[in-house]
C-alpha cells in the first residue's frame, strides 16, 4: 500500500540501523531469508550439529548458563523450565507457542515468516536437550504467510535430514508438526494452548500445576516455549552461552525484539540489547523510533503489551530489565511498546484494550466473564459522555473483584503519586481477567481529570476518535 519507508521491503517494520548485535534477526536483511539455501549460507544448522556432538545434559546446561529468559510474556528462564520435567516419565512433548496476539506485539510473526529454519533449529536443539520426542508448532490461525513459510521450511528440513528419523545419522529422532490455530487470544496462555492442541475449546486449566512441564499435553510432561525464545537457541548452541551473556546485563542477557507502535516518528520492530536499553532510547533514539510524531508531546505509553500497566514520561529512563519494570509498577511482558501523544483521548484509548480483553474472555471464571463485560459496558458509556460519578466507583468495585488489594501503577510527579509495584493479586485462573481492568485502572489513575471531565460534562459524543488523525509524513 503506501510506499514502505523501511530498508527491507519484505520485512515490514523491521530496522537494523545503528550498531546493535543481532542474535535472532541477522537474516532479515536478505529477501530470501526464509529459504534453506540462505540458511545454509549463513551458518544454518551449525548449532544443531554442535549440540548433537554434546551430551543432551550438556546442551541443557549451556542453555541454563545462558539465562535465556522466556519471551512469551512471563520472562521465565528457559533452561530452568526444561528442568521441571519429572524424571523417567515418557513421552515428553514440545509445544511451540506461535499464537502471538497480545495487543502491540509483533515479532514472532516476523521470526516465523522471515527465518523459519532458525525456529526449527531451535525446536530441534530443545528437543535433543530435554528429551522431547514430538514437537507441535502451534501457529496462530490468522497468519497465512507464516503457515506457508513454516510448512515449506519443514518440508525442506525433513528432506535434508534435519527432522524425522535418525537426524543427521544420529540416534536423535523427532517429528515436528505444524498445527493451525483458529482465532482466540486466550489460547496463547500455555495450558489453553494445550487444550486447543487436544482438540478442545481453548480454556486455561486450573492451577496448580503451575507449569505443564509436569502435566501437559495428553497429561504428559510438556515444554511450552515462545517462538522468539526458541529462535535464540541456534546462536547459543553455535557460539556458547558466554557469547550470549556477553550481550545485555547479568539478569537480562542477550537481545529482545521490541515493537514500538503508535504515535512515534518511526514505528518499528527493533532487536535491542536486553537489560540496558531504556524506554527513552527506544522511543526517542535515532536508531529507534526517533521521537513523537508531529513535534507532539508524549502522554503515556504501554511498556509490555496490552496487559501491562501504563507508564508516563516519569518512567522513560527505566531499562528493559524485569525487576526495574515491576518496581516501577508494570512489566516488560511480550516486548510491545505502544506510544500515545498528547492528542490521545485517554478514556477512549483505554476502551479499545478493555474491549479486547472483555471480548477474549473464555468464560471459565465469573470475575473475568462478567467483570470484563461490565468494565467494557461502563467504560463505553463514560466515553460516550453518558457516564456518572457512580460509574467510576463501579469500575473500581468490579476491578477489586478481579484484582483484590493494591493495583500496580506508575508514579507521577504531576499528580504527586508514587508507584505501586507489579504484580497484582487475582481471583481468576489466567491473566485475561486482570488485563481487562489494567488499562482502565492505569488510565483513571494517571489521567483522572479526563474521566472527571467526561462524567461532569456528560455531553453525549457520537463518533469518538481515539486520537487526532495523523498528519502527513506517515
Amino acid at each position: 500500500m503506501s510506499a514502505a519507508p523501511y530498508p527491507y521491503a519484505w520485512a515490514a517494520g523491521y530496522y537494523d540501523d545503528g550498531d546493535r548485535p543481532q542474535v535472532v534477526t541477522s537474516r532479515f536483511q536478505y529477501d530470501d531469508s526464509y529459504t534453506l539455501d540462505r540458511y545454509h549460507a549463513t551458518g544454518g544448522y551449525e548449532g544443531l550439529r554442535k549440540a548433537l556432538g554434546m551430551q543432551p545434559a550438556e546442551v541443557a546446561d549451556e542453555v541454563k548458563k545462558s539465562t535465556l529468559l522466556g519471551r512469551g510474556g512471563a520472562g521465565f528462564p528457559a533452561g530452568v523450565k526444561w528442568g521441571f520435567t519429572p524424571a523417567g516419565v515418557w513421552p515428553r512433548y514440545l509445544v511451540v507457542n506461535g499464537d502471538e496476539s497480545e495487543p502491540g506485539t509483533y515479532k514472532d510473526r516476523l521470526l516465523m515468516e522471515l527465518d523459519p529454519h532458525q525456529l526449527i533449529e531451535g525446536c530441534l536443539i530443545a528437543s535433543y536437550a530435554a528429551g522431547l520426542s514430538q514437537c507441535f508448532l502451534y501457529v496462530r490461525g490468522e497468519m497465512a504467510l507464516a503457515h506457508e513459510r513454516v510448512a515449506k521450511a519443514l518440508d525442506d528440513a525433513y528432506a535434508a535430514g534435519y527432522i524425522g528419523k535418525n537426524i543427521l545419522d544420529t540416534n536423535f529422532s523427532v517429528d515436528i508438526v505444524l498445527h493451525w490455530g483458529a482465532g482466540a487470544y486466550v489460547v496463547g496462555e500455555e495450558t489453553a494452548l494445550i487444550e486447543s492442541l487436544e482438540g478442545e475449546r481453548g480454556m486455561p486449566r486450573l492451577k496448580p500445576p503451575y507449569f505443564p512441564a509436569a502435566i501437559g499435553l495428553y497429561g504428559m510432561p510438556t515444554i511450552v516455549n515462545n517462538v522468539e525464545t526458541l529462535s535464540n537457541l541456534p546462536f547459543i548452541a553455535s557460539n556458547g552461552s558466554a557469547a550470549y551473556t556477553a550481550i545485555g546485563t547479568e539478569t537480562s542477557p542477550g537481545t529482545r525484539m521490541i515493537a514500538v507502535s503508535g504515535h512515534v516518528k518511526r514505528p518499528g520492530v527493533y532487536e535491542i540489547v536486553n537489560g540496558s536499553t531504556t524506554f527513552r532510547d527506544l522511543i526517542y533514539g535515532d536508531e529507534f523510533a526517533q521521537g513523537i510524531r508531529d513535534g507532539n508531546e508524549l502522554k503515556a505509553f504501554v511498556p509490555g503489551g496490552g496487559s501491562a500497566p501504563w507508564f508516563v514520561a516519569d518512567q522513560l529512563d527505566i531499562p528493559f530489565e524485569g525487576r526495574e519494570a515491576s518496581g516501577a509498577g508494570s512489566m516488560l511482558g511480550s516486548g510491545a511498546v505502544m506510544v500515545m501523544d498528547d492528542t490521545t483521548d485517554i478514556p477512549a484509548a483505554a476502551l479499545t484494550l478493555v474491549k479486547f480483553y472483555a471480548h477474549e474472555s473464555c468464560g471459565k471464571c465469573v470475575p473475568c466473564r462478567e467483570g470484563g463485560t461490565w468494565l467494557y459496558r461502563i467504560l463505553e458509556r463514560i466515553v460516550a459522555g453518558n457516564g456518572t460519578d457512580a460509574d467510576l466507583d463501579t469500575i473500581r468495585q468490579v476491578g477489586e473483584s478481579i484484582c483484590p488489594g493494591d493495583m500496580p501503577h506508575a508514579a507521577s510527579e504531576r499528580l504527586g503519586i508514587s508507584a505501586v509495584p507489579f504484580p497484582y493479586k487475582m481471583t481468576t485462573i489466567c491473566f485475561v481477567g486482570p488485563s481487562a481492568y489494567v488499562p482502565v485502572h492505569s488510565a483513571m489513575t494517571l489521567f483522572p481529570e479526563e474521566f472527571d471531565a467526561l462524567v461532569t460534562k456528560r455531553e453525549p459524543r457520537s463518533l469518538i476518535h481515539v486520537t487526532a488523525a495523523p498528519s502527513g509524513g506517515q
Binding site: G13, D175, E200, H465
Partner: protein
Amino acid sequence: MSRLTDANVALAREIIARYPKKKSALIPLVHLSQQQNGYVTEDAMRHVAELIDVTPAEVYGTASFYEMFRFEPTGKYLINICGTLSCALMGADQLMHHAEHTLGVKAGSTTPDGLITLQHAECQAACTEAPTLQVNYRHRFRVTAADFDQLVDDLRAGKLDGEIPPHGTLGRNRQHIPADRAVGAQHPDDVTTGPAWIEIAEAAQ
C-alpha cells in the same frame, strides 16, 4: 452435501496420523472443511466427527469457540479491520467508517453480491504498520482510504486471485511429512521408555 471430498478425506487421514490422539486433528480438519466449502457446514462437522471418532456435538463445541470458523455463508473475501490500540491510535475507526461507506454495508455483514464480508477484528500482530487489515488473513499495512478503495477495486476485478485464495484457504501450501523420514506419532500410553538418545546418554554416565 458438503461432506469432505475423497481427496480431502485422504488429506484428513494424513493429518490425523500426525497426532498421538485423533481429536487433536479437530481444528485442522474443520479448517480443511472451511477451505472446501467456504464456511463450516453441519454435514462437514458430522463428517469430521466420524473421521476422528467423536460426536458431532464435540466438533461443534470446539469449533464454535474459535473466531475463524464461520457457520454461515461468507464472502469470497473476508476483510478484517483491526481496531485494537495501536491501530486505533493511527486512525482505525476512521478507516472502518470509510470501509462501511465504500462497501455500503455495516461491519459484520456481506455485500449484496456475496463477494466481500467486512468485520471488526482484534490485534493482527502488525502493530507498527497501523492501521492494518487482513483479506482472508493476508495483511495489508498502513491502509489509507484510497488504499482501501483500490483494494476493493482489485478484488472485484479479480486482480489479486493469485495472491489471495478464496476465504477458508489458510496456506497455499501444506506440510507433507515424507513417510520414509517420519518418526510417526504414538499414543502416549504406548510409550514406556525414554527416547533413544536420552537413554543411551544416561546409560553411558
